[in-house]
Amino acid sequence: MNEHLSRDQVLEWLMGARTPEWEAHVRTCGECAKGIESVAGPLRLFSAAVNDLSSGVRVSMKNGEPRNYWRLAYWPVVVVAAVLLIFAALPKHRDRPQPLPADPAISDEALLQHVEYEVGESVPGPMEPLARLMNQESDTGRSR
């Protein structure tokens, strides 16, 4: 093969598609080798730069297995969620009308009045015959 590689063939070469004819030609053709290197060189440097930035990375292991970052983050997430729930519930609790604190003096007085009323109340209607009977018996006993 004496023809130079076309621009598309240079890209195909870089993709890995190489015929024995192409390889034989590129070995002896400085122009084609230069055309390939003009793209391959920057790509090689780019790759080296990415690898340089990758140095020092270390996957965290525990007992021979990789740690799960999500599992590590599990408890803090649960705690934060619980705190948020509490704060979300607090305003509702605060807004609910609370019973007024009872004044001990007022409540004692009211209780006494209630007892007096209950005790001093006249006999209810349905009980009146029984009350009359009891009064008659007590009057009869007194006259004897």
Binding site: P42, L45, V50, N51, V59
Partner: protein, 195 residues
């Protein structure tokens, strides 16, 4: 894996790692072999170091949990990369805003890394030219669709061939070729623009 002028991953540790089913019995050695490889792919995909560290950790955790399902149809690297590709895809789609916010800082880091690599071996002019070309590759990669960027990174940062990329991404071989060809066209266009 690839010879000639093809760019290599530069991660010699990963090249010496065993890639068979048997190595999964010692999972910590798997992690040590491939942590840089996976992290590099995730970092270049997301451009966010914190997210890349979290996703790399998650990748190995998921791999550990599903290690009994690994049948050895592909290499360990391809299997791990498949998990990483899925994690990157899910993350990028769920955090699109954050994804773009990290871009500028990573660009600076990448160009600085390129200068570090070229420095000492090249003239000051060549160092500048090298960093400009890395910047051009990166700008091209940034403008690609996520699938195109993924196949580009797997091919030229992870040194995977077309079949391995197809296995890692779940794409058909022909689809991988189309995406990779278009990605390379964009990269070459950007590189030629800085000359």
């Amino acid at each position: 894996m690839h010879g000639g002028t093809h760019p290599s991953s530069g991660d010699s540790a990963a090249m010496t790692c065993a890639s068979s089913l048997g190595e999964l019995t010692d999972f910590e050695s798997v992690v040590r072999c491939y942590e840089r490889t996976i992290f590099g792919f995730v970092l270049a995909s997301l451009r966010d170091r914190d997210a890349a560290e979290t996703l790399t950790q998650d990748c190995f955790f998921r791999a550990y949990r599903s290690r009994r399902d690994f049948r050895g149809d592909s290499s360990v690297k391809t299997w791990l990369m498949r998990i990483a590709v899925n994690l990157v895809r899910d993350h990028a789609s769920s955090e699109r805003l954050k994804f773009w916010r990290q871009t500028k800082r990573f660009d600076i880091d990448l160009v600085a890394a390129a200068e570090r690599i070229a420095d000492g071996r090249e003239s000051p002019e060549a160092v500048v030219a090298a960093s400009e070309k890395v910047g051009a590759v990166w700008r091209a990669a940034r403008g690609l669709s996520q699938r195109q960027r993924t196949v580009l990174l797997l091919r030229f940062v992870q040194d995977m061939d077309i079949l391995e990329i197809a296995a890692a991404t779940g794409m058909k071989e022909g689809t991988v070729k189309v995406h990779l060809f278009r990605a390379l066209q964009a990269v070459r266009q950007r590189i030629e623009a800085v000359r």
